[in-house]
């Protein structure tokens, strides 16, 4: 939360004094200012204003569409974070003809008057043709502290017009870091499977569903999963009656086959060296294994006549949560990655598709108690099981963003199966693509 100030120098002295005193007792206070305490349980959204991006292009290059897109993506990113209360532009009273883009050219009283605490202003040039930028689009964006009347951060970007969204996403990441001290996920990607009339294909897209790219070509493809470095996708593909395991480099398109026999639900270890998966061809029954990626050697994790499927690695790679019906209904268990020490975590309903938060503190999963599935979260020891979504349709297959705060999941609440993203507390649910089996990139 923003610290309200009296006069500038008095508050500066006080701030320094507090920092020095506190840092003696608590060495984890960062030297930089934290505008928004993202972990606060009483977090109030910070009011922010975003003006129209001003077109500084030559007359023949001017584009209203670029202005609209830049602002739309900015607003969409800010909304996704859940940290801001965006003031509608109809409420802005600043005269855009007279106001500028540097702090001294802005009358911040115009912004305080409408209740704003933060302000974003930007400009762009289509076909800039300058020494610094010879590509199709140059964008400048500034974030201001309205109360302190100063620039918090300002950046310029040079790219192709097709990279417009990416430019804004980069600035959104910067905003997150400056205001909260945490990395943003605005450049992250989603991967998912989606049906066509004849097939089920694997796609990836931006975190908000834009820029969808298909990486498979026919047949039934399933269970896409990102590598820890975010460059490769694992998936199974039905070829010759086996759901074979493949990995594909999303930059080069190079596809490598890893297994000729049917694999179900592969998951890449966060340490990068192993894949957890289910196979039934080895021991005649669906068992969990870990496969060493270099040697392709398998280590068996489960040994019973029931179904063991859908592994989820802990972020330190030492434990794996998974689904088993050994107790009758499907329940979630945790096993050490060497196969030892199996513990049961759920005891009610049917429980499936666990996903371990990259922060390590929570496991999300899908539970059905009387018909439809909802997303739940719990601690890794099974305590504090809490329902997160409560739609009457099926919400399944959660996948965490790397910030441990957002979850993608599949739901048929809108009719056909679609991917939704939300905050981990169940708020801010937005549809981003049609499909299933979402995997959020690191």
């Amino acid at each position: 939360m923003l610290i309200k100030t009296m006069s500038y120098s008095k508050s500066l002295f006080l701030t320094l004094a507090v920092i020095i005193i506190l840092s003696i007792f608590n060495s984890s206070i960062s030297y930089g200012k934290v505008y928004i305490d993202i972990n606060s349980p009483t977090l109030i959204q910070t009011p922010i204003a975003v003006t129209e991006f001003k077109d500084m292009s030559l007359l023949e290059d001017r584009s209203l569409e670029v202005a609209k897109n830049l602002r739309d993506v900015m607003i969409s990113d800010l909304n996704f974070s859940g940290l801001f209360d965006i003031i509608e532009k109809e409420a802005y009273i600043e005269d855009p003809q007279r106001a500028g883009f540097r702090a001294k050219e802005i009358d911040f009283a115009d912004w305080r008057q409408i209740g704003s605490e933060l302000l974003i202003k930007g400009t762009y040039i289509v076909n800039p043709s300058t020494k610094k930028c010879k590509k199709g689009l140059k964008v400048e964006v500034n974030l201001f502290d309205v109360i302190k009347e100063k620039l918090i951060t300002g950046r310029w970007y040079c790219g192709n017009q097709k990279q417009l969204r990416k430019i804004i996403h980069k600035f959104s990441n910067r905003i997150m870091m400056e205001l909260t001290g945490e990395r943003g996920v605005f450049e992250s990607r989603l991967s998912f499977a989606a049906r066509t009339p004849d097939s089920k294909e694997i796609y990836y897209s931006d975190y908000d569903g834009y820029g969808k790219v298909k990486i498979t070509n026919g047949s039934t493809n399933n269970s896409p999963q990102w590598s820890p470095d975010g460059r490769w996708l694992l998936y199974t593909s039905l070829r010759g009656r086996q759901h074979k395991l493949y990995v594909q480099n999303t930059f080069t398109g190079k596809e490598i086959k890893i297994s000729n026999e049917t694999v179900i639900g592969p998951r890449w270890s966060p340490l990068g060296n192993e894949i957890a998966l289910t196979m039934s061809s080895l021991h005649g029954n669906s068992e969990l294994y870990t496969m060493n990626i270099s040697t392709r050697k398998l280590r068996r994790l489960t040994n019973n006549s029931r179904i063991d499927v859908s592994p989820a690695w802990s972020p330190d790679g030492k434990k794996i949560a998974f689904v088993s019906d050994r107790a009758g209904n499907t329940h979630i268990y945790v096993v050490k990655s060497d196969g030892s020490d199996i513990k049961r975590l759920t005891f009610k309903g049917k429980n499936e598709s666990p996903a371990w938060s990259p922060k390590g503190d929570k496991i999300a999963f899908a539970r059905s108690t009387n018909g439809n599935f909802d997303i739940w979260v719990m601690n890794p020891d099974g305590t504090q099981q809490r329902q997160v979504t409560s739609d009457l349709h099926d919400d399944e297959h959660p996948s965490w963003a790397s910030n441990g705060r957002n979850i993608a999941f599949k739901s048929d609440r809108g009719g056909p199966s679609a991917i939704y993203i939300m905050k981990a507390d169940g708020t801010n649910i937005v549809e981003v693509a049609k499909g299933s089996n979402p995997s959020w990139s690191p």
Binding site: T220, T278, V309, S310, V323
Partner: protein, 197 residues
Amino acid sequence: MVFSGCAKMGSSISAGNITEDGVLENSRGEIITEEHVRRDIENALEELEKIYSSNEENHHDSMNEKAILEERASVLKKVNTMVRNTGTLLPVFFDYDKHSIRDEARGTLKNNAEWLSGHSSLKILVAGHADNRGSNEYNLALGDKRAKNVLYYLRDFGVNASIRTVTFGEEKPNCFESTETCWSQNRRAEFAVVAAD
């Protein structure tokens, strides 16, 4: 009535009329009896075996290979359509979230086993399916278990034919509604002929 015609080699599926009384007639106006049906399938299977065995010599000619594969595929399709339409190898169905063979399924599997024992040169595929409730990964595992349980049951009946299993999970449903009627149709194991020795 004795059936005197034969299905032509490489011909498309035969068709005929349905009379006012609901009786099936073939294209020559002869009433189709069980015997007709049996002979049609036998002919198609003979054709299949001929194609699989006679074309081994032509294996290295790549232009011909494409034609061979297409011909095989078309005959297989005909055989499987007949298998379906005549109820020769009927599918079996399963209870929700279960992969054990139901009592109602035993009769079907016994019939299938008997037919398979009489046609041991055929290669058979058993495909396991699930309804769309629950995660699709769990359903792939469930479909796999259903297909395997059918396979074990047939082996217990002494079927020696080459049988492979595949799971389709919830990926290839017969119907798409969220009703018990539709779900129960999707929880199944199906048979298909995939080759002949």
